[in-house]
């Protein structure tokens, strides 16, 4: 029996059903240059040859760069115990298991992860996680749409532009209306957002600190949104939640976060972790898996998947989301990381990162022609206005081993001269001094 997935007859039948003449025509949208030229793979290689090949590839990575890049993803120190504990065989799986109740340890870890992120964000309930911060934000917006049965989303322009692109892309066919409220020199426009959040609004969506690093208290905005029947959605940077006013304290209905900074390496963009939390009132709208704690017949503590009537295997097309898994391994890393650092450790990480960033802001604005984009309070990231195009500075300094930050002009027209600079506890004062010197030398 030949191992072909479809016979020529089946292929003909399927093409006929969708009204396409040939397989070639079906894939016409994929440019020829991007199609595989051949499936004729070279012969197998020895382990040593493969290792040498991989090492050659790995050497192309610029791992020795000193980086001041952030823009939503931060290079924090990860204690070695995170790898050691999460790579244990008992835990090492990417998914919630398919016979979940048979895996009490996995469920307990997810339950503890949910508890930890709820405490960190000051919220009532969390799910077992979704793919990443952007997915979490999209799901949060959809929670609001379902809850309010309204179709208008008010979005702060200072929300991470990647999330805004994801929102637009995921909702392209959902007949939703977006109102984007422009930032004001990098600040979230509280007054503009309050005006836009009217009684037809499903959600007002903001970020703290926002993409420009500005820290804002949204409590007043959220209170006003509630009075209009709109849901308040906030995306936060989890490390700084140990020192900033939490979403819960601000009165947010749904709080999400990119969990990467909690023990996940940057590793070229993933896998990351979508943290999702909400108030008790919204839990029926929360997508994905939720682990609950209960007692069995003999009174022993046990863990279960709970509120499953929201999910696809019961609710079919009316499910809250098509997400029925989570980032179990990444969530486990976040849990282990949070437990190792503890409340005090996380707080010290946040304060050190902020202290370094404030030192960097001071040193860099001492360079003639360089200033802060706004005088808004910031945490560990800030926007600088340069006398020249930020891309030029980035190109020149990256060539010398220093990536000075993220070019805001990539996403914001008119900010071509602006550079977004981030620090963590790993950034040393010497590195900050070197950056200031190099920048000064270049602009002199």
């Amino acid at each position: 029996m030949p191992f072909v997935p479809h016979t020529p007859e089946q292929i003909r039948d399927m093409l006929a059903v969708i009204g396409v003449g040939s397989t070639e025509e079906l894939f016409a949208e994929i440019p020829a240059a991007m199609r595989p030229k051949s499936f004729d793979l070279p012969a197998g290689r020895s382990e040593m040859e493969v290792l040498a090949h991989m090492e050659r590839l790995a050497q192309k990575n610029a791992t020795a760069q000193v980086s001041f890049l952030g823009a939503g993803f931060y290079d924090h120190h990860i204690p070695a115990a995170v790898d050691a504990l999460t790579s244990r065989g008992e835990f090492y799986t990417a998914y919630t298991p398919y016979q979940p109740e048979a895996s009490q340890g996995t469920l307990q870890a997810i339950f503890e992860y949910q508890t930890a992120v709820c405490r960190l964000l000051g919220m009532d309930c969390a799910n077992a996680s979704v793919y990443d911060g952007g997915t979490a934000l999209f799901e949060a917006a959809m929670m609001a749409v379902r809850q309010t049965k309204r179709r208008k989303l008010v979005v702060c322009e200072a929300l991470n532009p990647i999330y805004r692109v994801m929102l637009a892309s995921y909702t392209a066919n959902l007949n939703l209306e977006f109102v984007t409220v422009p930032h004001r020199q990098g600040r979230s426009d509280l007054a503009g957002l309050a005006v836009a959040a009217d009684d037809a609004t499903a959600a007002v969506i903001v970020q703290n600190p926002n993409f420009f690093g500005c820290v804002t208290d949204f409590a007043g905005l959220f209170q006003g949104a509630r009075a209009k029947g709109a849901v308040s959605v906030i995306s936060v940077y989890p490390v700084l939640q140990s020192v900033l006013k939490t979403p819960g304290a601000m009165g947010a209905d749904v709080a999400v976060a990119e969990g990467q900074s909690l023990g996940l390496p940057l590793s070229f963009g993933g896998p990351y972790l979508g943290v999702m939390t909400c108030t008790k009132d919204m839990i029926r709208q929360l997508p994905g898996r939720i682990v609950g704690r209960t007692k069995d017949l003999d009174g022993r503590t046990g863990y279960v998947l709970t509120l499953q009537a929201r999910e696809q295997h019961i609710r079919r097309q009316k499910a809250t989301s098509n997400i029925c898994s989570n980032q179990a391994l990444c969530a486990l890393r976040a849990l282990v990381h949070l437990c190792l650092l503890g409340e005090e450790g996380l707080r010290r990480t946040a304060l050190l990162s902020m202290e370094r960033a404030h030192y960097a802001a001071e040193r860099l604005t001492a360079v003639p022609g360089v200033s802060l984009l706004s005088d808004a309070p910031f945490g560990n990231e800030f926007a600088l206005k340069l006398p020249v195009n930020a891309f030029e500075v980035i190109d020149a300094l990256t060539a010398r081993g220093y990536v000075p930050g993220f070019p805001l002009g990539r996403y914001y027209a008119g900010l071509e001269n602006c550079l977004l600079v981030a620090c963590t506890e790993k950034t040393s004062k010497e590195q900050i001094g070197m950056l200031a010197e190099m920048l000064g030398g270049m602009l002199a």
Binding site: R284, L307, A309, R310, I314, R315, K318
Partner: protein, 126 residues
């Protein structure tokens, strides 16, 4: 068993018509099939409901099911007790487990009487 003073749908809702208002709930048969209810999602006062169209949903420990309005009109009352005590639907589906009260826009049409519903329910049980 099946109250004779009510009208029924094939989707197992009941309606009690009193003048121009109707009280709506789900039947004994429906609550038995669903099992212990954990959540009832109902329209709000002021919402319009249409006969045969979805008006909410119920969730039990093993299933979730849409609710279809037997009548057309405006919702004038909602049984708020069900928010915290959905089990009332299981305990007393024709009494304390009522769901909404509707001011009728038109007299209902096509609903089943108790005898016809008994037959329909018996048929769907097999």
């Amino acid at each position: 068993m099946i109250p004779a003073n009510l009208l029924y749908t094939k989707s197992h809702e009941w309606a009690k018509i009193e003048g121009d208002t109707a009280t709506v709930g789900i039947t004994q048969f429906a609550q038995e099939q669903l099992g212990d209810l954990t959540f009832v999602d109902l329209p709000k006062v002021g919402d319009q409901v249409t006969a045969g169209s979805e008006m909410g949903s119920v969730e039990s420990v093993k299933a979730a099911s849409e609710l279809y309005s037997p009548v057309t009109g405006e919702v004038v009352a909602v049984n708020e007790d069900l928010v915290s005590a959905p089990e009332k639907v299981n305990q007393d589906p024709y009494g304390a487990g009522w769901m909404i009260r509707v001011k009728l826009a038109a007299q209902p049409q096509g609903l089943l009487d108790a005898a016809a519903y008994e037959q329909a329910a018996a048929a769907s049980a097999h």
